[in-house]
Symmetry: C2
Subunit: 418 residues, 2 copies
């Protein structure tokens, strides 16, 4: 197979489809999403069969248990995919929204109109449900998409893609508005991330290896999530009951998510009070604690934290703990070690909360809430295509709006510039 | 000079300064801008002296007249720089604006806060006034900046930089918040566009060579302007008096700007009426016309347009002209050849105007107005740092808001995720 020619053909079709999608009306898009959901519901058995093929191959290839877990579809999972598409259909259409349309001294009116980005390339691994989610979000936001799933999920993804195409066709939209790359050749990714004439933005959902490759090789803007070294800072003006509840939830409600707390910072004024009960909770739940000297003086069961720990996203039942002098020291630590994903302060002090919100430069900054809330559904975006830790375009959970941008519109009546 | 070490030092200082700038209050920023303006006014003679040095060197090096023109500062130009800084001081501060803060079913409040991008690298050529403009815009938007002007303007830029530093110091802000690169070594640009740890975004203001280099080499997001192949489409439902006025202004009010019309599209239904008087205006003003066969049948004085003409940004008194069947053909031509900068339709037809606004995918889309309005001042943004023809982040003229992004903020009262 000539991968370059194959990808260019996909790109050309996607570019053409993106023009049809940009002007597609809301009804047609919602109809497509609804028909996709119905096809997925109807084909549930077929999807599970395709998934069983992938699972068998993955087992034979010796993939680890975590990977198999992400790859596996269940009847409930398939129903969830369909439900997700129906939820996207129910979200307001962001495309075409006009804001700030005001008269200027010259007599022209100037405003902004929300528009699709064009063609979006999504690169992801293992989880087949991303195929439906990503297709749905790109479609509703008026974009064409090219999806590149993991090679281990190829049969599952193709089966889902058939349902997606059926939905598009039923709504009279081009089937090429969502294209799933059919080859597992790695060179296809190389083409996808450099076809500047056909692809407007790349959204990767994968590990550090993929992200590093994109930083080095992509010639197209990337909306990316690097990693999540999230912090909770317990201030000495904190309500300690809330602090314990939040610090517990932020770490132990799920260990493997990017919005899980990886480092706990505690003001020295309350460390002696709050660390013993919190440590007991963590240790009872099997969380390994790695502390600074001051933390270990209070909780001797902690291991010693190294410089590397402050940089580490464990994605595991491990937590680093540091006692800091005050709010300034906490912000300094966060600005030095954070991955700018999500940080939370626990305090009852108004001025410190106000300062934390302004001065911490992360995609989500919270007061008296668990970092685990950093999520598209929790934020009311509907689904999310990912979480951005970039500085430009979109920060934090990226929903429909993050897959659009704004152009200027100008209305005149024969106006010319003097 | 060790350029790498020099640039890394600049980067480190900029990163540190960006933290101070992000929390700097509006008063301090406005004070700095005002004091910069005063220093520039006071040092006018000194700036002109430095500029004279640059001009002498440029003449000796044989730079062309257009380059010398862009390089030259006048007393009025210096006054204009100071005035520009005072105008930026008068603009509202975008930083910290909170929008859409709403309660979610979980009980948390979720909203967005506008925040600076961090450290902005600006790469520009010739015009020394960009030093003051860029410094002012980055400062007001709470960013630190690293400015790399053209080597031919080094003395002018350093003299302006001294005024900028004086203003920062007078307001108690770090002088490293605006740093002008002091070496003319080209390797400095290579460092600037790859220092991912210190620089958040690059804004180039230069020719195609620079942009192509950035696309190939930058490892940092770039907000860029590729070129401006702008179109005016005269619909067959146009008011022809308005059409002539707009098409004249869009081409002849200035030839060298990126928002100048380069291709005129005319509906075949009115081509016979509108092309003869328009062509007379153009030819009287010395504009060379290059037309399609249908245009040349109406105006034989036109040269023959080639395929390449439809792609070309002339930046000169040359215009390509094409007769098209209707609105669909006009949109098709624009979507094929436009650089997605600025396009305008002239029509009195409501439905066609509505369609053009939605379906043309350019950073500015206009109805009955000259493309020459595509400009930060005309749009009410205050100054502009450039015009973006990218699809993500900012499209069109980029003012203060384009130098910021939005983070999520979450307010809770001990809330945890279930």
């Amino acid at each position: 197979m000539d991968v370059k020619a194959y990808m260019h053909n996909l790109g050309q079709q996607a570019r053409a489809a993106s023009r049809a999608m940009a002007k597609a009306d809301t009804n047609a898009k919602n109809m497509a999403l609804t028909m996709m959901a119905r096809a997925i519901q109807r084909d549930s058995a077929k999807l599970l069969e395709a998934n069983a093929k992938d699972l068998a191959a993955a087992k034979a290839a010796g993939l680890d248990a975590a990977m198999l877990d992400r790859l596996a579809l269940t009847e409930k999972g398939v129903a969830g995919m369909a439900e997700g598409l129906l939820q996207i259909a129910a979200l307001p259409d962001p495309v075409g929204e006009i804001t700030g349309l005001n008269y200027r001294p010259s007599g022209i009116q100037v405003g902004k109109m929300r528009v699709p980005l064009g063609v979006i390339g999504i690169i992801y691994e293992a989880r087949p449900n991303v195929t439906a989610d990503a297709a749905g979000l790109c479609l509703k936001s008026g974009n064409a998409s090219i999806l590149r799933g993991g090679s281990e999920a190829i049969h599952s993804n193709q089966a889902i893609a058939a349902c997606v195409r059926e939905g598009l066709a039923a709504a009279g939209l081009p089937e090429t508005a969502v294209q799933v790359i059919e080859t597992t050749d790695r060179a296809a990714v190389g083409e996808l991330i450099t076809m500047r004439e056909f692809v407007d933005v790349i959204v990767p959902r994968g590990g550090k290896g993929l992200i590093e490759r994109l930083i080095a090789e992509a010639r197209i803007p990337v909306i990316k999530h690097l990693h999540g070294v999230c912090h909770v800072y317990i201030d000495d003006k904190a309500d300690l009951a809330k602090a314990v509840k939040i610090a517990d939830n932020a770490k132990t409600s799920r260990y493997g998510t990017c919005n899980t707390m990886e480092t706990l910072l505690v003001a020295q004024g309350v460390a002696g009070q709050v660390l013993p009960p919190l440590s007991k909770i963590y240790l009872d739940k099997g969380v390994e604690l790695r502390g600074c000297a001051a933390s270990r003086a209070i909780v001797p069961a902690m291991k010693e934290a190294t410089e590397e720990d402050w940089h580490t996203e464990y994605l595991a039942p491990i937590l680093s703990v540091r006692v800091v002098a005050d709010l300034d020291a906490a912000i300094e630590h966060i600005n030095t070690y954070s991955s700018q994903h999500t940080e939370s302060i626990v305090t009852e002090d108004y001025t410190r909360a106000r300062r934390f919100l302004r001065e911490v430069d992360s995609s989500s900054v919270m007061v008296n809430a668990s970092t685990r809330f950093a999520d598209g559904f929790e934020y009311g975006l509907g689904a999310e295509i990912g979480i951005s830790t970039d500085k430009i375009h979109a920060r934090g959970p990226v929903g429909l709006e993050g897959l659009t941008s704004q152009k200027f519109i100008v209305l005149g009546d024969g106006h010319v510039r003097g």
